[in-house]
Amino acid sequence: MTALVEEPRAVALPGGARAIDMIDMLLRDRAGMLARVRAGTDLHAVIRTMAATIAVALVVVGAALGSFRGGVQVGYAAVKMPLVLLGTAALSAPALSAIGAALGRRSRLSSDLALVMTALAFGALLVAACTPLLLLGRAMHIGYHRTILVAVAMFALGGGAALRMVVGELAAARAPGWRSAITGLTIVFTLVAGQLSWALRPYLVRPQSVDVPFLRQVEGSFLDAVPEAIRSARGIYREPAGRWGSAP
């Protein structure tokens, strides 16, 4: 009996645990979930479950964002939002393994990918949990820019929670180069997520826009867009409204 009590938390779930149990564990016992990832227990199942969790959570968030315009945009945003996070994770996670490995960390791509996906799934669930705030804003007609600010705050919360999870796990391992690996991952993730979300816009669609395109024509980059968006939010438009009608 004592031996059972002293079993590591990583085996709290059987190898073939149901996805819903894994998600429940992620929400209730993150330390246990991370221990499971650290132990390398059924990593492919973890990655699959977390990818599905991210997809479902962000479909909900995307649909809520698309409801600002309504109609077909609900579906468009619901499809695009999961692509942003899953695509970013696929492009960025190798950087964590590679930078860590270069500095001597005993990293494996599959376990690092599982860690990143687990953290992102947690962040995505937090963002999904905030979705009622978006709907409340919609009900109160708070306007386009305020809706964007609410969305930014939601994603900042989810992103911060996910980053804290990855940092906590790597810091606990005390492996050489973990700080550089985290810094590299954060920079790469921010740049790729910014550019990918920019490439897949619009999500809300501006009220004055006539058309609702699935994707905007490629113009500039995310970094070009940041100062433009700040000016736009202050009511200073560089171009006629029609040209910028549906961004972001």
Binding site: S97, A98, L103, R105, R106, L191, Q195, D224
Partner: protein, 168 residues
């Protein structure tokens, strides 16, 4: 020989590390070449990486030896090899994001910035790894290492800049 030198330097096979070291600079040069529409960066990027290391590594050994803190020549050579592999592995992890950022942007500046940042980050990581492998003890040797690193990174940056100006 130091403890660090006796351990396996990377969590991947030696052959894979060497292959990544050879391929990663070519891949980043390929991103630049695809954007510029010329083949020169394909060869120039690895040439800068390996050429600058080949040209400056003897100076590092001589300087640290004169300072009285250099490991044996074989250990220095091994440390430089490990650092080069660290460069290749780190750069390999950054190739995907760099390719995406370049392909999804409409300006040449994004490609140059992304490629430069990836090469610069990998170079800094390689310098950090080299410092750990060499395990220099005296202040003089560490100061000489810092000067060497700055000079090596400066030469590489200058050559990369000239390449960027030439092809873009």
């Amino acid at each position: 020989m130091s403890v660090a030198a006796r351990e396996l330097p990377f969590p991947i096979p030696r052959g894979a590390a060497i292959a990544l070291t050879a391929a990663a600079p070519v891949a980043v040069g390929g991103v630049m070449a695809a954007r510029a529409g010329v083949l020169a960066p394909l060869a120039a990027a690895p040439a800068i990486v390996f050429g600058v290391i080949a040209a400056t590594a003897p100076a590092l050994y001589i300087a640290t030896a004169v300072a009285g803190d250099a490991p044996p020549l074989s250990a220095v050579a091994r440390a430089i090899g490990v650092a080069l592999c660290a460069f290749g592995i780190a750069l390999a992890g950054l190739v995907l994001p760099v390719t995406f950022l370049s392909l999804s942007s409409v300006t040449d500046l994004t490609t140059i910035a992304a490629c430069t940042a990836a090469l610069g980050a990998a170079a800094v990581i390689a310098v950090m790894r080299l410092a750990r492998e060499l395990q220099l003890r005296t202040i003089a040797a560490n100061a000489l290492f810092a000067v060497w690193a700055i000079a090596m990174l400066g030469i590489s940056a200058r050559l990369w800049w000239l390449l960027g100006v030439e092809v873009m």
